[in-house]
């Protein structure tokens, strides 16, 4: 289980990323955040977000039109 969850379903660019960033601020290093989104553009965006911010993307999956990501906050 992730330490925190973010429901970003129905939101479009750039809101899933902005909400994610905000929520990561509430976590401490090493904790995880699970995000559920419906924006197909989020797949590439979360890879790019992880790469640029140093937060690790542990998981990226798709099922029934929903995209799930798990990010681990940078220590």
């Amino acid at each position: 289980m992730a330490d925190k969850e973010l429901d970003a379903r129905g939101l479009n660019c750039p809101l899933p990323i902005l909400r994610t960033k905000k929520m990561l601020n509430e976590l401490t290093g090493g904790q995880t955040l699970r995000i559920v989104a419906t924006d197909p553009g989020a797949v590439k965006d979360f890879q790019a977000f992880a790469k640029q911010t140093g937060n690790e993307l542990l998981e990226s999956a798709e099922a029934n039109g929903e995209y799930t990501f798990v990010l681990k906050k940078k220590a």
Partner: protein, 169 residues
């Protein structure tokens, strides 16, 4: 100074459609850890007003699809190709187009401009209003949201000269 990357944007457009790029890019860059400054000049000043009243005009903009944000799928898919002459003669055409765009934005889960502007502020994006155009257009500082800096081209270059990315929108 921090080692964060820097993004400098000049925002020159004051319509609802063109309000999106500067606010989307500024807020996203801030989320990625950039230091961001946006310099608002000419019509871009409209984006800083306390009372936002942004409109979109399809008139003379052949690239803008005119689709209805309601009804069955086949109806939503129709592109209403209205001649310029008709657009310019029908009173309230711009307001109608603006209402339709706002509804489409809502239907697609896209943020509103007031929300994106607020997200930029929360992320400490720095807004600078061009003092020359503030005077040119007869605005008062009180027309704008609080916390702005008022400056000129030299103020912009102070930050832009050290930026990693610099955009004119």
């Amino acid at each position: 100074m921090s080692e964060a990357k820097k993004l400098a944007i000049i925002a020159t457009k004051g319509t609802l459609d063109w309000a999106y790029p500067p606010f989307i890019l500024a807020s996203t860059a801030a989320a990625l850890g950039y230091d961001v400054q946006v310099f608002f000049t000419f019509y871009g000043l409209q984006l800083l007003r306390k009372k936002l009243d942004l409109k979109v005009s399809p008139l003379g903009n052949p690239g803008m699809p005119m689709k209805m944000p309601f009804g069955p799928k086949w109806f939503k898919g129709i592109n209403w190709n209205i001649p310029n002459l008709v657009q310019s003669l029908v009173p309230g055409y711009e307001s109608l187009a603006t209402t339709l765009m706002k509804q489409t934005v809502k239907n697609n889960g896209v943020a509103s401009i007031p929300d994106l502007r607020e997200l930029c502020r929360e992320a400490e994006v720095k807004f600078i209003a061009c003092q020359m155009t503030v005077e040119l257009f007869g605005f008062n500082h009180s027309d704008f949201i609080d916390g702005l800096e008022f400056g000129g081209a030299a103020t912009f270059f102070e930050f832009a000269g050290e930026s990693d990315i610099c955009l004119f929108i």
